[in-house]
Symmetry: C2
Subunit: 333 residues, 2 copies
């Protein structure tokens, strides 16, 4: 079959580390193409060796430049580096994003570096799932370091940042940025804090503010987040950032926290996927019941909550019966 | 029972239009207190008379001032007005928001005006559901006009804006705001566009840009969105905005579109509630199976997608059996 052939071909390409196959498969993941599940069913056993770093912070903090510098640094010591920029609010900016930001010659001409943006096609939950799939694909393709940049400061960004093994929060000395970070929940998720554009006025104060907030918090599982100063444009502080990443990674590995952390991430991911699966079944399998219930709600004879409860009770077993049992004999397709 | 008593008392207060009862019930909705379902089960039949206007646009567009002016205008002609500000990104700003923005003496001392902010307690989907519940409660309490302000430009804001009967998009003449609006999907959801701070340079150009984009789009169900100019601070253009709202409402009612639109909103809401219900059952009922599946995923013997499929298959019927059938004899509690 055509589609099975396409899966075979792309899986082979992926395992051989071929960039076009990888790029194509990431597009499938981004579009929530269900063939992604078959691909990952085959290659998931080969995941687990890439290290994932989430890099987040408000727009204009210089995250992209910092990531570019960091990628070069990691390349220098032999890592294969992937950069994934997740941009939930701007479905149209995909192309521009890459064009504007990562057109650093050193990066774009290096076959050991893969750069990709992920944009929302539809639901936000879908974007988080798509990104998880993309990270697995990059892992299978042999990238040892994956830098995930999240653009913006909403819930999706927090979710995506928390997929990472290490979360780096990047801030700049600018009016109220520290406050913004606290409001947006960034203080709780950062393992490493970076004051970028540290030559600007206010850098020392921002660093002091961050340190005092961090001091009030309990160290999480024995790690107290450092606050570094960088100037990404000038390349200052990148060495220290790479060093902090190594230290955090070593801490996670030695304390056994890495496995626990990854299991927590996995739990959220499986629950998220299950939610997606249930919603799909709901939408496919509950048409008549839904409309009947809606009639009643419209006549105000039933509350939306009671309708939802009946739909949850009624739709799923039926949808389950209609769905053929999952076939483990995937290769036979 | 205590809890039943509380429900009784608050429902009576709500039906009598008492503000403290209303405020308390909205807090329940905001906290996803499950008693909200019982409250709405009793009073949902009394909803349907309030008219809902969603007001959205980028931060700094002057939405709050505009809403304050509009609320006064609607009060003048006898409407009971509620303002709900939905702020998904800043769970901590609830108090400040109201304090800063709606401390207009005319509004805060008027018993015919109710102002409230809704902030995220946990999931984003939860915020949309909580807001739906709050709008119903306001409807039951006798508010005839509900202005829903969404702060920010993400997916939740779009979802919330689309709960409304009329969606007003507010922009200001500022670099790239028109482009931002198009990117963020605002052009597709606006029924009325407002260029606020219209005395600023660039207002005419923004208006022209908006008109030409709108001209390219098909009119939706016979309505071509107008582009108005206002200066909320000076009170200019508010009369015209109120007039446009009336015209859009009349258009919806006369064309039968209002019922269709509300049914679409209701469909999304019931599906959203069902999703919440399923996730709840999933989290409550699938602990052991989830952990067993996670063990396999952790050993890379199972992909997260396959785990999700098995969880969806396995957890729900079991959770369904454990759940007692919903009791229509609610009053007997």
């Amino acid at each position: 079959m055509d589609s099975g052939d396409a899966v075979d071909r792309l899986v082979s390409g992926l395992l051989a580390g071929k960039t076009p196959s990888l790029a194509r498969l990431i597009s499938w993941a981004e579009n929530r193409d269900r063939r992604t599940e078959r691909v990952l069913g085959r290659v998931f056993s080969r995941t687990g060796s890439a290290y994932r770093v989430g890099i987040t912070g408000p727009p204009g903090a210089g995250k992209s430049t910092l990531i570019g510098r960091l990628a070069l640094r990691l390349r220098d010591r032999g890592d294969k580096v992937a950069v994934v920029a997740v941009d939930p609010t701007s479905p149209f900016s995909g192309g521009a994003l890459l064009g504007d930001r990562y057109r650093m010659t050193e990066l774009s001409e290096d076959p050991g570096v893969f750069v990709r943006s992920m944009a929302s096609r539809g639901s936000m939950g879908g974007l988080a799932s798509a990104t998880e799939d993309a990270l697995d694909l990059l892992d299978v393709a042999g990238y040892t370091y994956i830098l995930v940049e999240t653009v913006g400061v909403g819930q999706v960004e927090l979710d995506v940042a928390q997929m990472a093994d290490t979360v780096v929060v990047v801030l700049v000395p600018e009016s109220g940025d520290g406050i913004q970070a606290m409001k947006a929940g960034l203080m709780e998720i950062g393992d490493i804090f970076v004051v970028n554009k540290a030559d600007r006025e206010g850098a020392a104060r921002l660093k002091g503010d961050l340190l005092s907030v961090l001091e009030l918090a309990e160290p999480r599982r024995g790690w107290r987040p450092p606050v570094l100063e960088t100037s990404a444009v000038r390349g200052d502080g990148i060495e220290e950032l790479a060093g902090s990443l190594d230290r955090h990674r070593a801490h996670l590995e030695e304390s056994g926290t890495l496995d626990r952390r990854r299991r927590d991430t996995l739990r959220l991911r499986v629950l998220g996927e299950t939610r997606e699966e249930l919603v799909r079944r709901l939408e496919e399998g509950s048409g008549d019941l839904l409309e009947t219930l809606l009639d009643k709600v419209e006549e105000r004879n039933l509350s939306p909550h009671e309708a939802a409860r009946r739909l949850a009770n009624g739709a799923l077993p039926r949808a389950g019966e209609d769905t053929p049992p999952s076939t483990p004999g995937e290769s036979g397709e």
